[in-house]
C-alpha cells in the first residue's frame, strides 16, 4: 500500500474541509463559549488521534497518555511562564529556569519533545508486555507520573494550582496542530512501521515470523504518541492557563478512552469522530446539569450525571459495537468507493 493513495488523500481532504467548516461555523456563531468548546475539541483531537497512533496500531490499551499530557503541559508552562510570575508561582524553582521565558509555541514544541524523551526512556521495557500486564503497567505509569507531579513542588507547585501561563493557544493554532496530527496519523498508519505494527496487532506470532520486531515497533509508536500527547498538553495548558495535577487523572483518562472506544480505535476517522461526538455529548450534558441546577427543581447539588451517561454509553457500545463506529474503514475508503461507482 502506498502512503499517498486516493484513500488517504480523500480522508485528509475530508478532515481539512470538516475542520474549516467547524472554523467558519464558530466564526458565524461568534460566541466566546462556543469558541472555547471548539478549541478544546481540536486539542482533544490531537490527544485522541495521538492515542490512536499507539493504541489503534498496536492494539494495546494505554492509561498513561493523560500522564504524558501532564508532562507536556507542565514542562511547556515552566519554559514559557513570564519571569515575574515565576517568583510568584514557583518559589523553590531551580535557578536554571528562573530567567527563562521562551516563546509559548516554542515551549509547547520543546514540551512535546521532552515528553517523547521521557516516554522513550520509561516505556521501552514495558513494550514487551501483552494483555492485562501491559494495561496494568500503563496504569501504574499513570500513577507514577501523577505522584511525581503532585510531589515535585519545586517545578509543579505540588497539588496546588499551577498558574500564570501566557494565553497563547488560539483556535487557529489548535486547528493547525490538530490538522498536522491527522496527516501524521494517516502517514504513520500506512507506512512500513504502521503496517508491521498492525500486523503484529492482528497476529503477533505471524508478524514476528516475517521479521517484525514488535518491541521496537510499539516503542516507536508510543514515542510518537507521547509526543502528540505532550503537544496536546502544552496547547491545553496555554489555553486554560491554570491547572493542577487533578486535571490529568482518572476522570480525564476515562473521557479520552471513551472517545476512542466510541469512535473506534483502529481508525483515525474513528478517533476524530469519537472526540467530536463525546465533546458534543459532554457539552450538552454539562448544559443539562447546569439547567437542572439553576432551575430550583431539586435542592441538592447535581453533579456526576455526565460521567454516568458516558459510562453507560461506553458499556452499551462495547456490547453492541465493540470496535466502535468506524471499525476498519477510514472515511476516505468510503468516499473513494462512491466516486469509483459513479
Amino acid at each position: 500500500m502506498k502512503i499517498i493513495n486516493n484513500e488517504n488523500t480523500f480522508s485528509i481532504l475530508f478532515f481539512l474541509i470538516l475542520f474549516i467548516i467547524i472554523y467558519f461555523v464558530n466564526f458565524f456563531v461568534g460566541s466566546a463559549i462556543f469558541e472555547r468548546t471548539v478549541t478544546n475539541l481540536f486539542i482533544y483531537i490531537i490527544l485522541v488521534v495521538g492515542l490512536q497512533v499507539f493504541m489503534g496500531n498496536s492494539g494495546i490499551l494505554s492509561f498513561a497518555h493523560i500522564g504524558f499530557m501532564s508532562i507536556g503541559a507542565y514542562s511547556s508552562g515552566l519554559l514559557s511562564m513570564p519571569i515575574k510570575m515565576k517568583g510568584f508561582v514557583l518559589r523553590d524553582l531551580y535557578p536554571i529556569f528562573e530567567n527563562v521565558a521562551f516563546d509559548p509555541i516554542l515551549s509547547i514544541l520543546i514540551g512535546g519533545i521532552f515528553t517523547a524523551i521521557i516516554a522513550a526512556i520509561l516505556t521501552l521495557p514495558l513494550m514487551r508486555l501483552n494483555d492485562a500486564a501491559a494495561v496494568i503497567s500503563s496504569f501504574a505509569l499513570l500513577m507514577v507520573i501523577h505522584s511525581i507531579v503532585v510531589g515535585w513542588s519545586a517545578v509543579t507547585n505540588g497539588p496546588r494550582t499551577f498558574f500564570g501561563l501566557p494565553k497563547a493557544t488560539t483556535l487557529e493554532i489548535a486547528l493547525i496542530f490538530s490538522f498536522l496530527t491527522v496527516i501524521f496519523a494517516f502517514i504513520y498508519k500506512n507506512s512500513k512501521f504502521g503496517l508491521l505494527l498492525r500486523a503484529s496487532r492482528d497476529n503477533d506470532i505471524a508478524a514476528e515470523s516475517i521479521g517484525a520486531n514488535i518491541v521496537y515497533l510499539r516503542w516507536f509508536a508510543i514515542i510518537a504518541s507521547a509526543f502528540l500527547a505532550g503537544i496536546a498538553g502544552g496547547l491545553w495548558g496555554h489555553f486554560i492557563t491554570s491547572f493542577s495535577p487533578k486535571s490529568f487523572y482518572l476522570k480525564e483518562t476515562f473521557l479520552v478512552i471513551s472517545m476512542i472506544i466510541i469512535g473506534g480505535s483502529f481508525t483515525v476517522t474513528g478517533a476524530i469522530a469519537g472526540a467530536l461526538l463525546v465533546t458534543i455529548g459532554y457539552e450538552f450534558l454539562r448544559w443539562t446539569e447546569k439547567v437542572i441546577k439553576f432551575s430550583d427543581v431539586i435542592t441538592f447539588e447535581f453533579i456526576g450525571l455526565t460521567e454516568i451517561v458516558l459510562s453507560i454509553t461506553i458499556i452499551i457500545f462495547l456490547i453492541t459495537k465493540p470496535k466502535g463506529l468506524f471499525p476498519f474503514k477510514e472515511i476516505g475508503d468510503t468516499i473513494n468507493k462512491i466516486i469509483k461507482k459513479e
Binding site: 494495546i60 500486564a133 496504569f139 482518572l250 476515562f254 454516568i308 458516558l310 462495547l318
Partner: protein, 294 residues
C-alpha cells in the same frame, strides 16, 4: 519497637492480603482484571452510612453491607463481564473501568461529594497495650479475622466440590466446561466470593478510615493490584504473600524514609510493580500451569 513494627505490618498486611485475594479469584478464572473491584469498598462504606439512622445494632449493619458487596460483585459480572467476556481483554477492562466510574458518579450524584462519616463501634479504636506494643483493637481484629478467613477459604477451596471446580476452572477453563461443570455458576461464585472477601476487608478498612467519599475505592484497588502483581496474578497463595510483602514495603518506607521523600512513596511502590512485571511477569508465586485466556 521491633514487635510494634511486626504488629503494624501484620495488621496492614492482613487487610492487603484479603483485598488481593478477592481480586485474584476472578483473575485466576477469567484472566481478566476487574477495575470495578475497589468500588466494593465504596458500596460497603455507603451501605453502613445509609443504615446509620436505623435502630439495628452495628454488626447487623456491617453484615448487610457485606451482603451488598456480594450483590454488587455479582452485578459487576452481569453488567461488565458477561456481555463482553468473549471479546477482547481490552473490552472487559474498559467496561469494568466504566462500571467503576458509574458507581462513583452515582454516589456523587445521589449522596454527596463530601466525605461522610461512617459509624463504627467505639471499642474498635480503643488502644490496648501488651509486651510494650500499643495498638488499636481493630488492628488485632484485622489480623484475627483475616487468618480466620484464610483458613476457611483454603479449606473451602481444598475440600468442597465448588472449590474444586473453581480450582479446575482456574487451571483449564475449557476442559472444566467439557467435563460438565457449569461455567457461569463457577464464574458467579468466584465473583460472589470476591465480593465477600472485599466486603470483609472493606469493613475493616472502613473501621480504619471512618469515612466514605466517591473516590474511596481507588486506594484498595491499587493495593490489590500491586499485591497481586508482586505475589503472582494467578495464584491465591501469591496474592496473600503479595499483600503481606506490600504491607512490609509500605510500613518500612513509613518507618525509614524522611518526610519530604515519603510523598514519593507511591512512585517507589509503582516502580516495584513495573519492575516485577518486567523481571518476573508471573509474580513471585507461579500459578497453575496454563495461563492462556479461554
Amino acid at each position: 519497637m521491633f514487635l510494634q513494627y511486626i504488629v503494624d505490618v501484620l495488621s496492614l498486611g492482613s487487610l492487603y492480603a484479603l483485598f488481593a485475594l478477592g481480586l485474584v479469584l476472578v483473575y485466576g478464572i477469567l484472566k481478566l482484571v476487574n477495575f470495578a473491584y475497589g468500588e466494593l469498598v465504596l458500596v460497603i462504606g455507603y451501605s453502613i452510612f445509609l443504615l446509620k439512622g436505623s435502630p439495628f445494632p452495628w454488626f447487623f449493619m456491617a453484615g448487610t453491607a457485606i451482603v451488598m458487596s456480594i450483590v454488587f460483585s455479582i452485578f459487576t459480572d452481569y453488567v461488565a463481564f458477561r456481555p463482553v467476556r468473549e471479546k477482547s481483554v481490552t473490552a472487559v477492562l474498559i467496561t469494568s473501568f466504566a462500571f467503576a466510574t458509574l458507581l462513583q458518579n452515582a454516589a456523587l450524584l445521589l449522596i454527596s461529594a463530601k466525605p461522610k462519616n461512617v459509624p463504627m463501634p467505639s471499642f474498635l479504636s480503643d488502644s490496648v497495650q501488651f509486651l510494650g506494643v500499643i495498638t488499636p483493637v481493630r488492628n488485632l481484629i484485622s489480623i484475627f479475622v483475616t487468618f480466620l478467613c484464610l483458613i476457611i477459604f483454603y479449606q473451602f477451596m481444598k475440600r468442597s466440590t465448588l472449590g474444586l471446580a473453581m480450582r479446575a476452572a482456574a487451571t483449564n477453563f475449557n476442559m472444566t466446561r467439557m467435563l460438565g461443570i457449569p461455567a457461569n455458576l463457577v464464574i458467579t461464585s468466584a465473583f460472589a466470593m470476591s465480593g465477600l472477601l472485599a466486603g470483609i476487608a472493606g469493613t475493616l478498612w472502613m473501621s480504619k478510615i471512618a469515612n466514605v467519599f466517591p473516590g474511596v475505592g481507588l486506594e484498595p484497588l491499587l493495593i490489590a493490584f500491586i499485591a497481586t502483581v508482586i505475589g503472582g496474578m494467578r495464584s491465591v497463595h501469591g496474592a496473600v504473600l503479595g499483600g503481606f510483602i506490600l504491607a512490609f514495603i509500605d510500613m518500612s518506607f513509613n518507618y525509614l524514609l524522611p518526610q519530604d521523600i515519603l510523598k514519593f512513596r507511591d512512585v517507589f511502590t509503582f516502580s516495584i510493580v513495573i519492575l516485577i512485571l518486567l523481571i518476573r511477569p508471573q509474580g513471585l508465586v507461579k500459578g497453575p500451569a496454563t495461563g492462556i485466556r479461554t
